[in-house]
Symmetry: C5
Subunit: 306 residues, 5 copies
């Protein structure tokens, strides 16, 4: 497979990484229907951990089976599949080579009372399971934020040395943040910046709203007249906050919404120069045929065909 | 011993494991009177730690002797014997090769005021004692849950690399959970799912009741009309929550009840597709002959003969 | 020195241990005037740490000198001498080979406000000082109990691999326990059981009273009619709680009492099948000749001659 | 490049360091327009982490790009460039050899509620990225101060063994300190002393005010008639507190002020014998041409030409 | 240099130590004007860390320079010089071999609100800097006491294996102790005992007062009629508490007092059999000539000439 000029340009931004890590980034960027375009759509399935199995899979019971998600990612032509240890273990051999995988190495659950996550996987696990990357969530703002950052620092150093890529879910929570503030424009840009500074190759954030949370930041946005009035502009600002576009940033789909709502959000990500989507519940909670149709449409939007 | 097709099919679900771990799973699945059937009955004796020696063994004083339990597991034709370090050390040589053993590597006690356990054994201990697996308890919901999950993650990685199997006791406690919620259908399924996601080969949970604990989960169970009206259906749902049956799940016997109560529960486990039972106090607190008779009947139920 | 049948039988109970550890246990069991009988008397001198030097040694000032205790243990024909790092370092060379030593590797002091101990010695220290065993205190019930158990687990694994024996001081304290409960029959039996489960070779507990502390345990003692009416019966029950006599259990002397009180307690230990005594303050706080006379009498009691 | 006598004299103060570390100090001291003078100006860009991207870079949007800062440091002829992991990774290859770099290995952020920082880089990172030094912030006074000091101790030992230099940002905060006290003369001198005692090669402190914070220290300043009446005298005292001038001390620029204010402060640092400046926001928040003009003037001041 | 019989006798008390450690103890005991007498005077300079630079050095400004203290220790003919990492690093090469050095590996400061210290040096640092010993402070009684004891245990094991000596500053503080209790006779003896039990080669305590702090100890002192009425008797008791004189114990000078006060205290230490003094502020806060004169007088007192 010949790596495209577009992907080569993206890879060139990762100038300190070894060939192993660049090859794994290339695997993700060259895989599936968006392969070579510089855009990507990732299937993440960590909701069994985060929300429990029934809340995650009962709406579409075949999804209880770990193989279902591998197959869906393959059949939809997605860029990669991300999941916790057990989910990857249960299909890593059957689907070896079929789709790049990202081992999510920390997880929380809905019984938790603290804004933290448990480390549930390792770089060695990622290597023995043939994964291309590790994934890790940080909660900037939480009283555990420094500890989480130190965990990803250590895992990241180990992953990079082993030629893996590092994906950071940067989800501000807790501390001084209001609920609305978790997806505020300033906070989302800050979350992306911190993930980039921590050395992430791929950054996952939520699509920002036009809310501005932090007082000192709000003053700057207003003084500098930063336009946050529509999704494309907000996405473009997140990309700017991610080393001026030198880092891959994918946006989560969030809670279930109607198809038009999803497609419009995707168009905003596309038009703002976002790298792509990482979309879980909206995918696997639909019947398989509906999910495939939706993903087909999303891919077309990223291809500029819809 | 020729591994049966049924067991081969089960082993195939552990597709990421090395031959060492698969061989140890096979040892357990091929041992005893249920060997080869895909069902299993395990004798766990950790009550000396959890409740103290007199509460555990005074009803049947020969059980103060660690050899008693090895012999009982052998004579009853059980699949494996699980106990803490000292108990295994005290009989590992006399009963070497006589029954697969599971080293329980963490333990609590009734003097404890916190919902946590101490790590009391290691993978090296399991190896030097000839065990087939390590066993570990997590308390999802407890304020120590993330720490416990990180402990089993680390022990599990080490155990798998050494060719051992990993058994996780997943007992929700504390945090937002009511007492009734600890055995609720949704919570039990969630507990099984988390153990599976943590990479357990064998999952131990309590048989669930029809109570639904978590508000968001309850809404899904009702909307999706998940039938939790009898034990077999609830067991089937737990198996579904365990990677759609790709993981071995055994159910504890719980507090002492009458024999008919026990047998009916076992039939529910069998009919729901559960992998088997892990049954301690109900066994060793009876006179030896009564215990053997009861275990004979339980095995017959799993064999479809009772 | 030919190991006696009695000692061989005791060693056979440590069936998982390597020859190095068995040799060190044999050294203790074959040493001194009780050598070969299966009984033992150990001199522990950790009161300088626990209570301070003046409270410990001013009543008999030669005892300020670490050599005093080595010499006393040798001259009295005791089985072993146990002390913290500095005490052993100060005499290990002068008394090399003269008496088996046990390095007490954790210690508290009377300035402490928490029910915990500091680790003050290591397995490497024990090895370089020629010790036969390490000694470690746990406080079951304390909020630090799990941490202490994890510490001894780790030290114990290391000690056993190095061919050392492990002695556990199991002293219930704190948490739900009343002061009276610390020496209650049920709690003392539980303490012995936990030390055994943690893999101790030699267990040190206090002689139990006939008090029953924990409600659920009390109910069982009463229902099962466990006789705790005299010291010999209580000792026998502690031995039962220690793997039905498969583990060596020694009993502390406790606070100073008159000689007849001491001798009667020793007779109770002997008649209940206890392995022996570990007796500090009652020994070294007396003038040397008085101490030797008392130890002579104690040894005679264990020999059945008094 | 021939190392000047002035720089040789400075290097001689680092008499315990290996040639690797001395070479890296020399690289910084010999680089840029102040190379060889014993003075230095460092560009630090950690505000994206500390304050967020918009507050840091929106006033001068090209600064969102990590390459901007490397180029600015090169074009202005600065001595070194300091930044967190991601910033260095994003330009380390493009600017390899162009300017000495300092990897800032811990960071805080404006969502934090605790006076601590997360470790976000390692000595290995510094080595693989070709850095000359690691940078680390301590908060003397904070409840986390001992932990932070232990972190830098460990990192520093590792860095020195690997031939890197160590830069310590010593910023008193929290504990008994008032806000005014953070930059008090006594506290600033104490902060420099502690960094020196911790083994820092280069110390960064804020320019002190004439406030005296700690009661016992104030008494000494008054009794000994230590003159703190102007900036040059205060700087001279900080140098005295830094092993009587045996350590390199650079002073931060602090919050934005007008150019004359900046230049006067620089003259005070120069006249007091300070080693130089480490100046971030005042630099990169101005348009590039303005920043270059300002840095040119600052360098001329240190050269004694302005 | 021929080791004297007196020093050989002292070294013989360190019977478990390797020749490397004994050689380093000998270096200290054979160095300076008291070399060979079994007495020693050590110069400690950690007040820059503990109290800040101005409070420590402003009364005698040349003392801001680390070389000043090395030179003072050399010129006064002292036994050793003790200081934190940075102070030793700054002169270790210039004064290599000129005076034995003790690396103080933990430190507190006057901004601290907790009775703890940060570890600020390592055994590797001591080795690379050519030190003869490490120094470490414990605060018996503090809520951090167990942690500090575990730190020195670990450092001590490492130091001894590397042939270094271990000096413990044992300063009771916090917990149940009153301010007066910190220097009480019973507490000071206990502090010395604990340092000895932790394996210290050289123990530093404060000269005790005749106050008795702990109730149970007080009762023993009174019952056993321990004479604490003058300094020599109290020192003798501290030596008794230090393994009956088997350990070297040096006494701090404490806060500044007049020369006669100092000399009388030294005579008390000498007459009570104390090993010597460790005297900082009283030394370096005087003009150099005054300090040399005072140290000359102190040495003469220890030589029995004054």
């Amino acid at each position: 497979m010949k790596v495209t000029q577009r992907v080569k340009k993206i890879l060139a931004n990762y100038e300190s990484d070894n060939p192993g890590t660049k090859a794994n980034l290339a695997r993700i960027l060259m895989h599936g229907r968006l392969g070579g375009t510089g855009r990507l759509v990732i299937l993440p399935v960590d909701q069994g951990f985060e929300h429990g199995p029934a809340r995650s899979f009962a709406p579409n019971p075949p999804a209880y089976d770990p193989h279902y998600h591998f197959q869906l990612a393959v059949d939809a032509g997605l860029s990669a599949y991300a999941a916790p240890l057990g989910m990857i273990e249960a299909g890593a051999d059957s689907f070896a080579g079929a789709v790049p995988t990202i081992l999510k190495v920390n997880s929380s659950n809905s019984l938790a009372t603290e804004k933290d996550q448990a480390i549930t996987g390792s770089v060695n696990d990622a290597l023995r399971l043939g994964c291309s990357a590790i994934g890790f969530t940080i909660y900037p703002g939480s009283e555990y934020q420094f500890q989480m950052m130190e965990e990803i620092r250590e895992l990241s150093e180990e992953a990079k040395a082993a030629g893996l890529a590092v994906v950071v879910w940067s989800y501000p929570r807790g501390g001084p943040l209001s609920k609305e503030g978790e997806t505020a424009m300033d906070v989302c840009g800050y979350a992306a910046q911190m993930a980039a500074l921590l050395g992430a190759h791929i950054i996952k954030v939520k699509p920002p709203t036009d809310h501005l949370e932090q007082k000192e930041a709000k003053a700057v946005y207003e003084k500098q007249k930063i336009d946050v009035s529509d999704m494309a502009k907000r996405i473009a600002h997140v990309m700017q906050c991610s080393f001026n576009g030198r880092r891959i940033v994918v946006f989560s789909g969030g809670a279930a919404k109607d198809l038009d709502g999803i497609y419009n959000e995707i168009r905003g990500i596309r038009d703002g120069g976002g790298s792509g989507s990482i979309i879980g519940r909206n995918t696997f909670q639909r019947p398989r045929e509906d999910a495939l149709a939706m993903l087909d449409q999303i891919i077309k939007i990223y291809q500029g065909k819809a």
